[in-house]
């Protein structure tokens, strides 16, 4: 008798626990999100404090605006700006923060069930999908009749990103730039002058060698550091990642190969740590631990470096090097957009808020408060003074460099992940860089053909 009971119990348990998979898979990243090193490194820096796991993305309620974002670090500043809008409009609006990983899971669930917040952030990874499925409010006509918003005032790549079929679905919020972070203490110790706007990529490699000894390396890069690494050199050296029509890969372009080789040569020489090291400790962590003299990072890393005692004390930031003339100094950029739910209950109020957030006035304030650099051209100057421990001109001046929008297509992650995996062989030197890049181009072309 007992035996049969146990047998039945076990079979039931098997069936049940397996299917639990489906649920567990969705829940697991939720639990991990706070302490996880963001899988998407290009994502805005994850909030430092772990939030209680949220269970909803927020929904549209009549008479009150709900706003959802994923960066706790920006909440305070943005709420101040939103409060000003509330004073003018008389409508209450509150910002809810949902961490990066949960944000996308919940936003998708919300979109599927028809429950989206009134106003929320959009990102290049998924924008196309949301626009094509009419999840976002079409802002085209409202923008045309607005005296505050003119799309030509914003950086072009961000405007285009949130366009589909000639319609505009989001107003640009901010812009990020890539710059060269360095450890002043190591530079002093090794007697190397600090990086400045005269450096070429050759100087960069040369100096990295000089900055290497048994204690630390000159520079560190992982195969995943694309926007914060080889994408910049690829465009600086005249190569490309994806063609303008998003149909063909440029990874087999001789200039692209040369641009990747710059870094793999440094690894072979020993002025960059090997793959095993950077896969266990990310380059920005190595910089924060005083183990590398230089690291290329996006402006979204600022909060992390500012709040870290060691980096605040020892590090600073300079512009990226160029290839043959300062004109080819490249920064790969990206930017968020403010979008509204297509079937929210307060679409007029939502538009009014987005219009305000995109206005010159609010964009200047966003920079002044040190939230981020702004997407409205020429409004970011005051951002430089928002942090005292670094000279943010390194990031700021990259706005004057050749700005190239972060390469994307409809399903960017598919080929981007493939590229990262394949580049490992180039990092370890198991395969020549040329072969790896040609291989990547071939698979990427196949992936693009499927889109």
């Amino acid at each position: 008798m007992k035996k049969r009971v146990i047998a039945i119990l076990l079979s039931a348990l098997t069936a049940v626990s397996i299917v639990g998979c489906a649920g567990a898979g969705a829940a697991a990243p939720a639990a991990d999100a706070g302490s996880a090193e963001a899988v998407e490194e290009e994502a805005e820096a994850a909030p430092a404090e772990e939030e209680a796991a949220p269970d909803s993305i927020g929904s549209s309620v009549e008479g009150e605006l709900s706003i959802t974002i994923w960066d706790e670090g920006q909440r305070e500043g943005l709420q101040k700006i939103v409060d000003k809008w509330s004073e003018e409009s008389g409508i209450k609006a509150t910002i809810q923060v949902v961490d990066w990983n949960n944000y996308w899971t919940l936003l998708e669930a919300g979109a599927t069930g028809g429950e989206l917040p009134d106003v929320f952030w959009m990102h290049s990874n998924v924008a196309q999908k949301y626009m094509e499925n009419d999840m976002l409010l079409d802002l085209t006509d409202r923008i045309a009749s607005s005296d505050k918003i003119d799309m030509s005032n914003y950086y072009e790549g961000i405007v285009n990103l949130y366009q589909s079929d000639g319609k505009q679905y989001a107003v640009p919020k901010d812009i990020d730039t890539i710059a060269l972070w360095y450890n002043k203490t190591i530079f002093d110790e090794m007697g190397v002058p600090y990086p400045d706007d005269t450096w070429t990529w050759e100087d960069f490699a040369e100096n990295a060698k000089k900055l290497t000894n048994d204690e630390h390396w000159g520079y560190a890069i992982a195969p995943g550091n694309n926007q914060e690494g080889y994408y910049n050199t690829i465009y600086s050296m005249g190569g490309y990642v994806i063609s303008d029509d998003k149909k063909t890969s440029g990874m087999d372009d001789p200039n692209s190969i040369k641009a990747v080789k710059l870094f793999t040569d440094m690894i072979a020489e020993g002025s960059c740590p090997d793959l095993a090291t950077v896969s266990e400790t990310a380059p920005n962590e190595l910089l924060s631990a005083g183990k590398v003299a230089m690291s290329i990072n996006g402006s979204w890393m600022l909060a992390g470096y500012r709040d870290n005692e060691y980096t605040a004390e020892n590090c600073d930031v300079a512009v990226l090097p160029y290839t043959s003339s300062p004109d080819d100094r490249v920064s790969i950029y990206n930017g968020l957009g403010w979008a509204a739910s297509a079937n929210g209950k307060n679409t007029d109020a939502a538009w009014s808020l987005i219009e305000y957030l995109g206005s010159k006035e609010a964009q200047i304030e966003q920079a002044e408060l040190g939230v981020t650099m702004s997407a409205y051209k020429g409004t970011s100057d005051s951002w430089v003074n928002s942090v005292s421990c670094f000279d943010l001109n390194g990031h700021m001046k990259m706005l004057d460099a050749k700005l190239v929008f972060r390469p994307y297509s409809r399903d960017t992650t598919v080929w981007e992940d493939m590229m990262i995996e394949k580049l490992q062989d180039a990092w370890t030197g198991d395969k020549p860089v040329e072969d790896v890049c040609k291989d990547i181009a071939e698979e990427m072309n196949a992936a693009l053909a499927e889109e």
């Binding site: 007992k2 035996k3 146990i6 047998a7 076990l10 079979s11 348990l13 098997t14 069936a15 049940v16 626990s17 397996i18 299917v19 639990g20 998979c21 489906a22 649920g23 567990a24 898979g25 969705a26 697991a28 990243p29 639990a31 991990d32 706070g34 302490s35 996880a36 090193e37 899988v39 899971t105 998708e108 979109a111 599927t112 999908k129 094509e132 499925n133 999840m135 992982a222 195969p223 995943g224 793959l275 095993a276 090291t277 950077v278 896969s279 266990e280 400790t281 631990a289 183990k291 399903d411 992650t413 598919v414 992940d417 990262i420 995996e421 490992q424 370890t428």
Partner: protein
Amino acid sequence: MKKKASSRQISEFIWGWIFILPTMAGLIILNIYPMIDTIKQSFFKAGDFGKGNEFVGLKNYEKVLLDGEIWQALWNTAKYAIVEVPVSIVIALLLANLLNKRLKGRDTFRTIFFLPMVVAPAAVAMVWKWLYNSNFGLINNVFNIKVNWISDPKIAIYSIAVIGIWSVLGYNMVLFLAGLQEVPRDYYEAASLDGANGLQQLLHITIPLISPTIFFVLVTRIIAAMQVFDLIYMLIDLNNPAWKKTESLVYLFYKYSFEQSKKGYGATVVVLLLAVILILTVIQLIGQKKWVHYE
């Protein structure tokens, strides 16, 4: 001739169902319905936001069978289970045996061994990630060695299995301790009078008598080990050279369903996992007749 049920039997029948109703409802809504839905999804190519799902028949299954990455992931998962399950059971059994004796500070030890079970897996993974770090980690620095514990494709999955063993030890141990409580003392007294030593007592008295518990732990642990996800998710990222050799089936499911939004294909991966676990469990249910002793 069929006997008519007495009113007492009918009332027991009704009340019985009422009592299990809440559990049944929970099971159906949270487990059985999603299970059927998952199987259904595996025959579709998922559209965005649950709209426009396209029926593709067995196409997903054909793709799974030909996908080298899936078989590699299955093999990785199997390697993890082969190490984690037996080792954690043997160690837990020995520990339970030891902690079942009258020992000073017994409760303290029991608590210590159970502690890893209480800690969040994410925190466990972060601490072990630091221990394993090849340059700055405690293990390599204390022993003055240079082993790439979690970035060498050959050993990374075993390093992860070690964390798995450490984490479940306490849970297995508590189950065994419970099993040991039911073994009558007089058997041991009789055995020691006959001159049986500790090892003989363990092999010939303890293990046969708690074999139902061992069987239960074995089956549940294999199921859990085949579903390993969080440790790998926390420890290994795309930059890691051991990536391909540590990806588990559930990880692939996560990747397809949530990172790449290919929900249909993700569902197919889970159904494959379901099939594998069902087969393993059926084999164990048959095999138990040979070694599990019920009183």
